[in-house]
Symmetry: C4
Subunit: 247 residues, 4 copies
């Protein structure tokens, strides 16, 4: 068993112009965007990545069939652009593993001929956000204008960092002469956030130059808002009760 | 010293059709089942496994003799089936170690010619269970029917995972073309649970097609129930006292 | 990707007589001193050090450009002495990484021909210090006199240790026959402390035999004192209010 | 730099019949015994052991000279027996490091021709002990009689373990066909305990068949008892005061 095991599922010579990463993270924002795109575009899986740096467990699918946790690469060939997507179950459980897994992702990207990497995530602000902005970070200043023209807001007003695969892919892709853009949707940090994901999707689609129907994300966001509203009503109910009780 | 040291105790050419794992875990359910089977069948130890991924200590046997913590393989040859059992002192102390140890267990299984792996464990529910169900998970959907016919209930209604050797053996055996079935007895999670172990044993025996007398597990379960009853009585006694005191 | 990746940025044959380390630590004392010296002297960067033992993240520069965390070597050639400086973003995230990174720093030092290593840091005392002393430790008793003549106070009255790169560089340089001197400015341990850094700079400059204008550190220290004074006033204000409230 | 670096300080061909380990641990019991023996017998250091598994720091000696943390082997040649002693600053900081360091200690022991290993430690009981017993554990049941005849009490009435070097040396020496005896002095676990160390020394000296003057340990124990008595008096004083205050 290798520390990181990369299994190509196809023998075709596969190529991609860009890689879009959406591994689990704050508000599952990146994961929601990439899973939405894979489904809307009908991208197909081409790589399975297993590793001792992922949690030591199996995942049980509905019905009771177990499978190893893995991260995966999907491919979609459009007329003007080919896109590889990186999604999956987990990020690394160790600091060193984050570096080693990201390096493996970039080995694959290089093999696919990827010239630009997009990494997606949530930016936790600690409270519900009515109109989430999409914050951007890049690995080359020449990319800033592109991001802001697509509706992104550059971060960097105060010192900060981006932890995990979304950050390291940005940093380590530069050393391989790939362009790197990170888009982070503002989100509370407490909840899965399809609303934030929708905003990221809109900026990303403009940057990539493809059209993706956001309807299902919008629907998902509407559902979440109903759940939140119901929850807030319950909380208010409790407060009223406790007021009655005191009064 | 190897990171994982596998010592065969016999020079005979040993073969096994199936491997049954019962390493320490929730309610010690798996361990109780496998230790019971080893004793009832008179299986003999054929392998010792030492590793730097096990806790850094020795264990003191009654009388004061120390021994290294180890996991072990036992073998029983029946007329129709040969069974290897994996039991032992500990699971890995690190995430990576879980993967590397499980891989070593499967190397041995492959060498023995094992075609199917059973992994046993407890499924913690957080309260005492009157009639513990035996939950099943498999690594190939063709195995589902067998499990349910033997009395197991397939898991998978909600997302979940199986952590540690019981999970990883299920997942990693699939890559080696071995069938994998995990049986988990419902248990509180607070106590060693021979009652849950007994239920797992009954389902397992049907699946394997052998007869194992569960009497000693039943007796052990009866003792445990007495201990629990006495403890609950004590607790009620305390409540009564405190009522008296208040009253 | 190497576990530790050392990239020389120049092809010139570079030499240095001494190495001065100022990685992040208590009160950022060492970092403040070395960054001040690099700027005052106009030292130039000659080495970039990346490693899987640094935190798994990128850092976002003002404007939104991300870069990998790294530690760096700068070089300044004076008429009488050439100085290499070790500064950077982080220390190791793991115990073993501390050893391996320090070993790599010393490989570079040896290649540069370094004969003496100065390591700088803060010595946390848990309260604000009016006149911070500069405590010294050495890796050879013949260095003690030099330190005390320059105004340092030898530590060692009670058992103690120096953790991280500042300590290990002192210890491991001895095995390579380099002299090692550690200077630690007393500091509260709660705040970035340019005042303590200024004192360390003065002792260090005497030891190295160069002149460095401390004005900017002094200004920085004056600002910090104003901030602290304002904060203490606010705290007193709060106390007065609460007295009023009670009264 | 090696993960574990073993430096012999002599070029003589050195041999030892037994190894006595006293690394830091509960109540520093083992360390006190071995340091006492080294001093009384005038044993000389023959090996330095450095490792990335020890804490990443230097230790400051009185006067201000730093040295790397290390563990050390000392040698004493008597007329009838040669003894190697293992003492030092720290145990491993990681689980895996405990195994790897112990393996390195036993490599040295094997090179010295050691036939038996004694490991010493404290056995924490959670309260002050008037007459500490010396508990024994062995790696071969044939050694039990020797231990009990020397005044040791075999452990093993209830399941237990011995963690760290004292335990692993016992377990791993068996695989190298060395005899192993662990002696643990009962101790509170809160304080350095020379009284417990004295009892361990007496049993050990009988086992080894040498005479060691325990006077200095006895004096150290008397001092500690005075400190404890003074502390208890102070505590009683506080109680009296608070009684006065209430009354």
């Amino acid at each position: 068993m290798e520390d990181i095991d990369i299994a190509f599922l196809t023998e075709d010579k596969v190529k991609a112009d860009i890689l879009i990463e959406g591994l689990p993270g704050i508000g599952q924002v990146g994961k929601l965007v990439v899973e939405h795109m894979i489904e809307e575009l009908g991208a197909e899986q081409i790589v399975d990545i297993y590793s001792i740096y992922l949690p030591p467990q199996v995942l049980i699918e509905p019905g009771g069939v177990a499978r190893m946790p893995s991260n995966e690469i999907y491919l979609w060939k459009g007329e003007e652009i080919s896109i590889a997507f990186l999604v999956g179950d987990f990020q690394s459980t160790s600091n060193e593993g984050h570096y080693l897994l990201t390096d493996a992702y970039l080995d694959i990207a290089e093999e696919l001929g990827v010239k630009r990497v997009y990494t997606l995530g949530g930016f936790g602000v600690g409270h519900l956000v009515e109109e989430p902005r999409v914050l951007g970070a890049v690995n080359d200043e020449r990319l800033i204008e592109e991001v802001t023209e697509a509706g992104g807001v550059m971060t960097g007003d105060e010192p900060g960092g981006i932890v995990g695969a979304a950050g390291l892919l940005l940093g380590l892709s530069a050393e391989r002469n790939m362009e790197g853009i990170c888009l982070m949707g503002e989100t509370s940090g407490y909840l899965v956030d399809p609303k934030s994901a929708r905003e990221v999707l809109l900026v990303l689609a403009r940057l990539v130059g493809i059209e993706i129907d956001p309807t299902r994300l919008t629907e998902h966001a509407t559902e979440m808002e109903k759940i939140i509203a119901r929850y807030e009503e319950m909380e208010r109910g409790k407060e009223d009760e406790s007021l009655n009780y005191i009064g």
